[in-house]
Each structure stands twice: as C-alpha cells, then as structure tokens.
Symmetry: C2
Subunit: 582 residues, 2 copies
C-alpha cells in the first residue's frame, strides 16, 4: 500500500503544544498522530490510528493464542449490575454517570467485570462448560481528576480487558499464568521495556495481582526494584520486613520527661541529646503518631485512625490510600482537635489514643519488645523507653510508611532503588467477589453448585501508543519499532525534479508490490522540510531518492541509528525487504 503525503490528512507542527509536558505528548501532536478534542479526549489522525490498530492486532493475536474469545459489550451500561457490586458507589467521581430520557441511571464503563460475569452466568450452567476466557478491545471511560500527558492518561481510551472463569483456585492460577505469559509476548513484540511488579488491587477487590510497568522517567507510578534480586514492586505493594521481636523484661522502665518546646521530631531529638540521658538518640528511636480520618463509601461519618511509625519516616499517602481503599482518607481539622481534647498536638502518645478508643495501627518495625520515645499526651512532655507489648499494645499493623532507596529488599536480597513507570498491563486474580455478587455457579459433577472464580486482565492499548513513543524517540522525533510503525518505509523524494518524483513513484510501487506499506513524500516541499518531517514521523527506514539517482544510487537511512547506506537503485527493493523483514 502506498500512502501519498501530498494528499494525506497530516500537517506536522513546528511548535510543541502549549499543554504538553512529556515527550510522547509533544511528539505525537507535532507529528500529526493525535489531536486534542477535550480534556482527556483525543482524536486519532490517520497515522496515529494505524499505530493503534497495529497494537490492537498484536494484542488480539496473543489473546487468541491462549484461547481467549473476543466479544464486545456496550460502553453505555445500566446502573444495576454496578450497584450489585457496590462499584456504582465505590468508583466515586471517577465514574461518568448519566440518565436516559426516562430518568434511568447509566454509566460509561470503566471496566466490565459485572457484565462478563452476568453474561457467563446467562450462557453457561455446567462444570463441563468451564474454563472459559473472554476478552474485548473496548473504549473505556474514567473521569480522571487530572487527565494529563495526552493519551497517556485520557478520560476516553482503548483497553483490552479479559476475564477468566474457572472452577477452582488451581484453574484460576493457570489462567493467570497464561495471561502473564501472553502479556510478556505482547510487550516483547511491541518492543516495550517493562518490569512486572507486585501490585495492590485498586477498587477491584481480590488477591494476587501484578502490574506491567513500562520504565519511563515521566511515569506516574513509582516502583522499587532490588539491587540484589529481580524483586520489583509498586510502592503501594512493598511489604516492609519486620525485625525480630525482643524480650520486654530486660528493658528499662518507661519515664516521662519534661521536654519543653519539642513539638517536632527534630526539636525532640536535639533536646534529648542535650538532656544528659547517657545515650544518643536519633529520629528512628522516636515513635510518631499520625492521625487521619477515614470515610467509608456510603457512610456519613468518618472515624479516627492513628498510625504509629518511626519518627524518621513519613506516612506515604498513596500507600495509605491503597491500604484502606475503598475508604477515603482526610486530614484532621481544628474542629476535630477541639472535639477530641485528649489529642495534644505534637505530644500524642499511645496512652491517650488507646484510653479513648482510637484505632491504633503501627508500622511493621514497631514490634513487640521495641522501646520508643513518644508523646506523653501532655504539652511539652514525652515518655522515654515506652515498650511495645509491655507499656502499649497496638490494634494491629499498617504498612504505610514511605519506602526509601536503600531500604532492605523484602525478599532479603539487596536493597531497594526507586524507578518510575507507566502502567501498561494489570493481571489480577479477582477470586469470587463478582461470582458471589451475581451467584455465578456451575452445576458440579455431583449435582452441587460450584462457585466460579474469576481473573481480570487489562492492557492499556491506546496508552501503549504513547508509552512506545515515550521510550522510543530522540530530539528530532519519533522512532517507531518496526511492528507498530505506521509504514515500513518512508520514501522521500528529495527534489522537485520530475525524474526524481517518477523514480520515487516507481520504487514505492515496487515496494508496495512486494507487500510493504510505503509512505511516499511526493509533496512539492523542499528536501529540508521533508527530511525534518521524516525524522519527526519516525518510520524506522527512510529511502531517499535524490541527486544520486542520476548515477543509479539511492540512500537508505536507519531512523534510529542515523546510519546511511548508498544502494544501487536496481537493488533497492531487495535491500529494503531484507532490512524490513530482518
């Protein structure tokens, strides 16, 4: 196929769009792949749509290869199924909601677990029907608070979502494993650099879950990886190793000290080290108690939660939000302190919390037998050597302190380093949450019902266009991997001479004849403009038909390396076929 730039609906831009911050956004707009229509809403122009369709095709092929069957649901969905699973509420403002002309409630599907579960329930009855895996490539909607970075985080986007239905946990584990391998193949074929990280589950509820994160400094997700193993995890999913418990008997008794003007950890440590207590204190010896309010979806009232953690760590609110989801976290205001006079700001200790029935959860490092400096529930007073398991007993553990580079890896090998990534895939053993909500059972061989267990698996198809652009570009433009490039060869007719144009047309024709997709720059523009556009558009192989043609030579340029080779014109098609087909 030949696409002629003289008639292609494409106008490249010299300037970056004003709202663009990340390279993929700038380049996809400048090279004419996408255009902004609304916040988080983009149109796909011809070249962009081609890349998107190529990615869809790779995804479909690998899904079919593991026996997944494609179906397609509406995007406009009735409220009732999402009410049954409480997601109508849990999704909060992220869900686009609307009413039809009769006043019935609808939503624009953010993900389709409910519909798949109901559909399988509608068709299948016997254990003999299972397992089954279904998928769709579907336009999804999420009313993101901050749509950003072009198609990296839009409000309307294309996802592949698949769902497995199994009779037992072993079946689910097998479906999960097959998806994991299919995803590895998909991202491999697309040439994406990625890591697989342990993940928390978001609003979907369930258990085993991994994310595929494309490595990108502009990514929104922070993850950590070990220097000593292949451990990698979302920061939200890092499990802090707990130190060994210690005996409490040999610890000195807790003592309250007058510590004037020490409302911060730093001022407290300074004071203690100047107080002649006979030892050196660090922030890690102090126990900081942070108070927040939790509001559960649908509940009118919020409840207090106190989090105890070593004074050298802050609470990571993303970890906290992930840990308490679907409850929402908010900070205390003055009215809350007035209402709870036992909370003495800067001097809060376990004593008053537990005496007043505030739920008190501590960092995994605060194990039995550890001794802490902490608030004495009285202004300007702290208690030293307050021992966990002797002087206070928390209500449980909450692992939400910030994760730092240099922290020991949870698998015991090496230390953690941080990196940033973009979520491109998510695989997830949902379990029976949705089957329970809809009574999805199979009639077992013994005539008794077997509750089905589900997995859900997503790939951000349209996002991948941006992810690949993010990982594969230089300062002159995009550099598409061959499998997703909008054309195989970009033929640049470098000059206005009719002979050159005829030569370019002839070569383009022969390449198309041989089965390649050719982008032919047959415009009247100057060679400089055409070269710049070719670099910007990013087809991996560029064929320059220029002055050399008079001597029977054309030039083949590799967009990524910049390498140029002169090739006899009669040999050009064979040469290019070798290059393209590797």
């Amino acid at each position: 196929m030949i696409t002629r730039m003289s008639s292609l609906f494409l106008r490249t831009l010299r300037e970056d769009p004003a709202d663009a911050e990340v390279p993929s956004h700038k380049l996809l707009v400048r090279a004419g792949y996408v255009r902004r229509v609304a916040p988080g809403g983009y149109s796909w122009l011809p070249l962009g749509l081609r890349v998107l369709r190529k990615i869809e095709r790779v995804v479909r092929e690998e899904m079919e290869a593991i026996g997944a069957q494609e179906i397609h649901f509406p995007a406009l969905l009735p409220r009732e199924p999402y009410e049954a699973t409480n997601r109508w509420t849990e999704y909060g403002p992220t869900l686009f909601r609307l009413k039809d002309r009769k006043g019935a409630d609808y939503l624009l599907g953010p993900t389709h677990e409910e519909l798949f579960a109901l559909t399988v329930k509608g068709e299948y009855a016997s254990y003999k029907d299972y397992p089954v895996t279904l998928y769709q490539v579907q336009t999804k909607y999420r009313d993101e608070a901050r749509p950003r970075a072009g198609i990296l985080r839009g409000r309307e986007f294309v996802m592949k979502d698949s769902y497995s239905f199994d009779l037992d946990d072993e079946g689910l584990a097998e479906s999960y494993r097959k998806h994991r391998e299919a995803y590895i193949k998909v991202f491999g074929r697309l040439g994406v650099e990625y890591v697989i990280v342990s993940a928390t589950s978001g609003a979907m509820g369930g258990s085993a879950s991994e994310e595929f994160l494309a490595v990108a400094p502009t990514g929104e997700d922070t993850f950590v990886r070990s220097t000593g193993s292949d451990y990698a995890a979302n920061v939200e999913a890092v499990v802090t190793p707990a130190p060994a418990e210690q005996p409490v008997e040999d610890k000195p008794a807790a003592q309250v000290h007058h510590t004037p003007n020490t409302p911060t950890i730093e001022s407290l440590v300074d004071f203690l080290n100047g107080a002649g207590l006979g030892r050196e204190f660090t922030a890690a010896d102090t126990l900081k108690n942070v108070l927040v309010k939790l509001t559960r979806p649908g509940a009118g009232e919020s409840e207090l939660l106190a989090i105890g953690l070593p004074g050298d760590r802050e609470v990571d609110f993303k970890r906290l939000e992930a840990a308490v989801e679907p409850a929402e976290v908010s900070m205390l205001d003055e009215a809350d302190f007035t209402r709870n006079p036992f909370l003495v700001k800067g001097y809060i200790g376990p004593g008053a919390l537990q005496a007043n029935g505030v739920r008190y959860l501590v960092d995994p490092r605060v194990v039995r037998g550890t001794a802490w400096v902490t608030g004495a529930d009285k202004a300007d007073h702290h208690v030293v050597d307050l021992v966990q398991g002797r002087d206070f007993t928390p209500d449980g553990v909450l692992d939400v302190a910030e994760v730092r580079e240099g922290d020991p890896s949870p698998d015991g090998a090496g230390v953690l380093v941080a990196a940033r990534g973009i979520e491109i895939g998510h695989i997830f053993q949902l379990g029976r949450k949705y089957a329970d909500a809809f009574g999805l059972d199979a009639l077992g061989p013994d005539g008794k019902p077997v509750r089905i267990t589900m997995g859900s698996y997503g790939i951000g198809v349209s996002r991948l266009v941006a992810v690949i652009a993010e990982q594969s570009h230089d300062d002159r433009g995009l550099i598409w991997p061959r499998n997703v490039a909008p054309a195989d060869v970009h033929v640049v007719v470098a000059g206005k001479d009719e002979t050159l144009l005829a030569g370019g047309e002839r070569l383009a024709g022969e390449l198309a004849e041989a089965g390649l997709d050719v982008l032919l720059d047959d415009r009247k523009a100057s060679p400089g403009v055409k070269f710049a556009d070719a670099e910007l558009i990013g087809v991996p192989t560029i064929l320059v038909v220029g002055r050399g043609l008079a001597n029977g030579l054309v030039e083949v340029k590799d967009r990524r390396t910049g390498e140029r080779v002169e090739v006899p014109v009669d040999d050009a098609v064979r040469h290019l076929l070798d290059v393209v087909r590797g």
Copy 2:
C-alpha cells in the same frame, strides 16, 4: 482457522426471546450472535462480532477505494461545538447528555459533523489542501424514544460516518457521486436488496439527500416507488405534482350555504349531494383546514399554522414533522380554541384565518383557479365555489398530505406503490451550514477566503448485521451471504464415533490449511441437535461427516437451497474450495 464448538462461547436457544418481534432479532438471539444488556444495548458474542467485523471490512475497503482517509474521534464530546450549531438544543431528548466531575457539559456523539469541520479547520488552510474526505467507524449514541427490534434500532450502535470537504458545489457533487457509487458497491458486496430514495434531511440541514433503504416488510420507513419508472422516495420526500393553474374569471361566484350538522367531510358531502345544487360533490372537492401549533427550538411560545388540503386527504404527520423540522408540531387544545374564538370547529375557512393573521399554507393541489367547498367560519355554514387566487390567497404551499398508492408518480411515469424499508445508508450534501458555524475557509488562489462546502455520508454498520439477517433467513434459522458469514464451512461431525471425530478434525484441518474459516461441531451432542444448530447459525455451506465416511463419502449441504451432494472424502476439500470461492 478452526473454531471448535466444544469450546466456543455459544449457547443456542430453542425459544424466541420474549421481547423479540422481528425475525432478525429472534434469530440473532437464538443463534447466539447477540445478547441484550440494556434497552437498546446489546453485547456481541463471538459469532456476531465476526459478522460485524466482516461488514466493517467491506465498508472500509470501499471507503479507501474512493480515497477517504480513516480517523477516529472520541464518542464523549464537549458541548461547545454542538452549541455553536444549535444541535445541542435541536437534538432534544435524543441526545445523551452528561456532566463531568467539574460540572462541564458533555454529550455522547450521535454524529460528528462539528468535530470533523473543526478538525479540518485546524489542519488545513490553503485551497491546495482540498478536497479531502475523512471517515470513521465509530460507536454512536442516540437515546431513541423506542429502542426496538434488537440491533435494528439500538441506542448504542456502530456507524461509518464520512464527511467530504470541497471548495465549490461541483466538488461537493463529485464527492457525493463517489460516495453514492461506493455505497452501491458496499451493499452489493453484502448482498443486500435495497432501493435508493430521495430523502428529507432530518436535523442536519442542507440540500440534496438520498437514503439507501433495505427492502423489508418489518422496516420502520415507508417509501413509495413508481410502477412506471425507477423513481423511489421516502414518503417525507415525495413532491406532489401540482395541476395546471386555471383562469379564475369563468368560475361561478362563491356562495355561503346553511349546512346544518356538517362538521365532518363525510357529513358535508352527503348534505351537499342532497341539497339540489345541480352537481355531484366528492370529498376531493372540499378544502379541509387543519390547525396545528409549531414550537421552534429554544422559543418559548408556539405559533398557529393552518394547513389547507383536499378533504379526501389527511395530513401525514411524519411528512409534516419533516417539513417543519426543527420546529416541533403539537395539536391545539381547548384553551387554544378559547383563546382564538374565530376558529369555529368543523367550519374553519380561509377567511377567518387570513383576517386574523394565522399563517395559511396549502397543499400543492390547491392551485390558483381551483374552486372549493370549505368552512364559512360560522357554525353549520360552508361556502361553495371559493376560488384560490380570487377569493383567498394562501401564504404558501406545504406538501404534507398523505401519499397514497395509486397517486401519480412525481416524475410523470406510472403511479406510486408503497413498500417498507430499513435505512442502511444516507448520503447528504450538507452544504455550508457547518462551515458557516465554524468559519471553515480555505485561502483561495487570489488570497481571498473560500467557504468550504461539506457532504456527510453514513452507513449503519451494526444495523446491517440485522438487516442481512432480516433479508436472509428461513424458518429454521439464518442464512448468511458468503461475504459476511461467520465461517466459510460448518463441519458437522454427525455421531460420537471416534473415527468420525478424527475424520472431521482432519477435514477441518485441511480446509483451514487451504485458507478457509471452519466452524467445527466437535461436541458430544446428537446429530439432530447439531443439524438444528447448523441451520440456526446459518453458515452457507455445511459439511456433514457421518456414516458415509466408512464408504469414503461425506455430504456437502447448501444452507440456502437445502441441496445435498455426496462427495468422495478425498475430493471434499477441492469441492468445498470451489463452492466457497465460487
């Protein structure tokens, strides 16, 4: 490719769905092609999705063949562009509207003229850029008052919509002609029986317009065709031929008669024929004046409109609505008559209407020089021989009387007969409405702006699945045309014998190897169940691997004709390739 029914996500149903009235709806559900998710919202199961994708492919190929370029817009669109063209208001309750989390107004796109016009304006500037034709295959949303007939009239559906942009009317006419020919090719390849009818334009505004209607007794659209030519038109678009004008001078003078108890045409005609006036009257000699109210979008108040038409005709409200669109029509209530005492029910005449400033439009048959019996604006009184152009002068012509079988064809050849159809395509010379709304100009060769003129062209892609089913089925099930069938050959293993299954598998493998798509019924079900399912599913060619296999024979059955041929097993693949490839 082989699709095995033992694992295919397909369960056929013996019973028609309770809400189904038309054959396509019943059969597509029973054969497991689609499932209802919400009113007017259907999911596509694997076989249905295949048929849909095949139709999409045919449409894309013919669009590319006329140089149309595919792009893709969001379905979730901001209000502003639709506000600029007033369609935010004009669409009324048919538009799905919603707000985002910031309270901004959005809609789900029913059609995308605004976005295409804005996008072309954004990319193109010079007359050298034109003409251009863009298209998309897109999910559209319309909140139909009565979603019905399964996917025939859904609220979420797939359309191909394309838009042409030309510098002048000749260019638009050429773009229109190319689309018309492309549509003829598309529907020809899909094997649809259709007519092309002159159409009115709906809410889109503009001029030349034709609809492609699939002929189907269950269709919602009535159209008429001539017995003497290839004239066909939507009833809304029929132009009633006006008779020749007559001289007014030789007509007898108008005379008011006391016509007691004649509020209906029938009672009036009876009275006149018994009144000894020396001639015979029919309903066609009377002039009936029908009053309605028109409300323009956005206008608070309605205005009165009087329609004068021969007494043997009724007003066709679909024609009236189409003629006055976007104004809405409503009937007068008692309060209206109280407010306008000059309207004497049953005896309304042109005199009082025109004396009181009511807009008065008449049927094309009410030409100058025609004499009528009509109301005298006084109870129990009519006037005879009231002559158009002498005794009253209407404000204009309004062609909204019912069209009847037997009416003369507007092209003068033959008479009209009625038929029913389903709209599958619409081509439309929009003109400059949208270019005017957005100031879409090209800089002309003389440096002056040239206002662009647009065409819009739609094909109901998902609807076509139902249309084809509607036109191509029998009482046992669907019969797909080869180009859209979910498989090329349906291999039925008719028996549980392992040898038969092995034979079926081997033949399916060879057919797939030869490039055919095979649906293989490898289930443990009885031959009777399998045969019934094969008839229901409707793959055009069925290969039965049964008892004959022992003697080296298999049976090839044509789903449409029912014809069966025994074929030596070694010859089966070649035979089937001939059948499938024609």
